[in-house]
């Protein structure tokens, strides 16, 4: 595909004015949606993904329950008007199924599923708008949504996409760049710095791969800072709200303490 737009101009700027390693602005909204146990809307620039998490709850299909851990169920829906061209993707679309399978296997080792035997955790992903970096947005949003549902996680998972233009690695590709460049998506667990997901779908020389891979791993930590800030902000907001409500009911607390000590006396 030939493009009339310069991916990286002589001044070192990309088509949308970013520098080589500059990420798009990230927006994380964790306000509750409907009856979901956990929810997040994450935007990377113009790519926007909403994830709702239900569970752990009673498994819908008894035959599929596992006696020692929870079952994960991931469903991905792409809105027909999310991309530039209106296109309806069925649920059985292989690309969608692959996306769901990647999300599932990324989070299976991260969620401490053994704490919730015989249960099911449902993750519903809906892609609201796409402008490149779909997998990264889905993974980041799922990570935050799981945290907001209070599900035990080993770590947050942070994903970033990257590409190579000539010999220059770029990070967080937009749809325009994704179409023209070999691109990689990397997901890391920031505490251990280990890699849970790597995908590369286009031809790239081995030597180039190493460089963009390392850059993407570093960028994962930047995403992590943002995610942590959002999760903390949400937590502190809720804690404050609970504190504000209990302020006046000090009596209750005292009474409860008495009750507790009575119980302890037994």
């Amino acid at each position: 595909m030939s493009s009339r737009i310069e991916i990286l101009n002589d001044g070192g700027y990309r088509s949308d004015g970013r520098r080589q390693y500059e990420l798009r602005s990230i927006d994380i909204d964790m306000s509750p949606q409907g009856t979901a146990d956990g929810c997040a809307v994450v935007s990377h620039g113009l790519t926007q993904v909403q994830v709702c998490v239900f569970g752990p709850r009673e498994a819908r299909k008894r035959a599929e329950t596992l006696h020692d851990r929870a079952v994960l169920n991931v469903e991905v829906g792409v809105l027909p008007f999310s991309a530039g061209e209106r296109r309806r993707r069925g649920r059985a679309d292989r690309r969608i199924l692959e996306l769901a399978a990647s999300i599932k296997s990324t989070f299976e080792p991260v969620i401490q599923t053994s704490l919730y035997p015989r249960s099911q955790i449902d993750i519903f992903v809906s892609v609201l708008a796409q402008d490149g970096g779909l997998l990264q947005a889905c993974i980041n949003a799922t990570s935050v949504a799981l945290a907001s549902a209070g599900i035990a996680l080993g770590d947050l998972v942070c994903a970033v996409s990257g590409g190579v233009h000539g010999t220059f690695p770029l990070l967080d590709l937009s749809a325009l760049e994704e179409g023209d460049l070999p691109n990689v998506t990397v997901a890391i667990t920031p505490r251990s710095g280990k890699v849970t997901l790597v995908t590369l779908e286009t031809r790239l020389h081995v030597d180039r791969f190493g460089e963009v891979f390392a850059r993407a791993c570093e960028a994962g930590r930047v995403i992590h800072t943002e995610m942590r800030r959002a999760v903390r902000a949400r937590t502190s907001k809720l804690v404050d709200a609970m504190g504000a409500g209990t302020k006046g009911t000090g009596e209750e607390d005292v009474e409860r303490d008495v009750l507790m000590s009575e119980i302890n006396d037994f």
Partner: protein, 286 residues
């Protein structure tokens, strides 16, 4: 991050987020919401750090209900199985209500017969709501409920509101009667039943318990004023739930008084500015 005793000074609540190291695993023991890796205690949920002596745990700010024996819960029947009902109680797995843990018509101490097994749906069927107490746990962690008290059993004459379970504190009594003729049952699982007030003698029943009334599927007559009051209380709970305010009886009373003072319609409460005003008003009042 290394924890010192000062970190747990009164009034400060330390927040954490999944994957954040809290302290060394040599000096402390890990509790709920944490795990140990590489000699460090690490948080696995987002919430507040709590410490009891050497035990560190993280209380998730929002999570499913984790039951304890003796808790009062409101639940919904999801399935009728041989000699038991499955009850959705907002927990990790559906709770179990054994046929042997309910009061049946014809005397509290009556033996369960085979005919009772065959007509389990006449007591509870799928979709019925009930209030019960957590009796015990099965080996696989499923909670078992019982309704062997005259206050427990099938629910009618009202509506169900759901709030995050963290907002329901353990109170002296979870059966609250508001002066506006509304009864509240605050299930510790975050399910709240708002219904028409029943007079004490009706509620307790006469000495033998009245199976007709206990397992009835018909609502009593509810007058318009009571209906409005039920809706108003429900809306107040919804607002408080949305603002993540813990519910107590005094708080609900204050909120109801405030709502009546405003003289607005019942549905006006759901406007966001009125909702915000309500929350700040109750916070100021108390």
């Amino acid at each position: 991050m290394v924890l010192d005793d000062e970190d747990f000074a009164e009034g400060t609540q330390k927040l954490t987020c999944p994957g954040e190291p809290i302290t060394s695993s040599h000096a402390f023991m890990r509790g709920h919401g944490t795990y140990v890796d590489n000699e460090e205690v690490i948080a696995s949920v987002a919430g507040t750090i709590e410490r009891v002596n050497k035990l560190i745990s993280v209380r998730a700010i929002r999570a499913r209900y984790s039951p304890e024996v003796g808790d009062l819960v409101v639940g919904r029947i999801t399935e009728v199985q041989p000699r038991r009902w499955k009850v959705d109680a907002n927990s990790r797995q559906d709770a179990v209500l054994m046929l042997s843990s309910v009061n049946l018509p014809g005397g509290v101490q009556r033996r369960k017969l085979e005919s009772d097994e065959l007509q389990m749906r006449t007591f509870f069927e799928e979709g019925d709501l009930l209030v019960a107490e957590v009796q015990a746990f099965f080996a696989d962690g499923v909670m078992s409920l019982h309704t062997r008290s005259l206050r427990y059993g099938k629910l009618r004459n009202g509506q169900l509101i759901t709030v995050p379970p963290a907002l329901i504190r353990r109170l002296k009594s979870h059966f609250i009667t508001l002066p506006c003729g509304v009864d509240l049952i605050l299930g510790l699982n975050g399910y709240i039943w708002v219904s028409k007030h029943l007079k004490q003698n009706e509620q307790e029943g006469e000495d033998a318990f009245d199976a007709e009334a206990v397992y009835s599927n018909r609502n009593d007559d509810i007058d318009d004023a009571t209906r409005a009051a039920i809706s108003r209380v429900s809306n107040i709970i919804r607002i408080l739930g949305a603002h993540f305010v813990p519910l107590t009886d005094t708080l609900l009373l204050d909120a109801y008084e405030w709502a009546v003072e405003q003289e607005g319609g019942v549905k006006d409460l759901l406007n966001s500015d009125i909702g915000d005003a309500l929350v700040s008003a109750v916070a100021a009042r108390s």
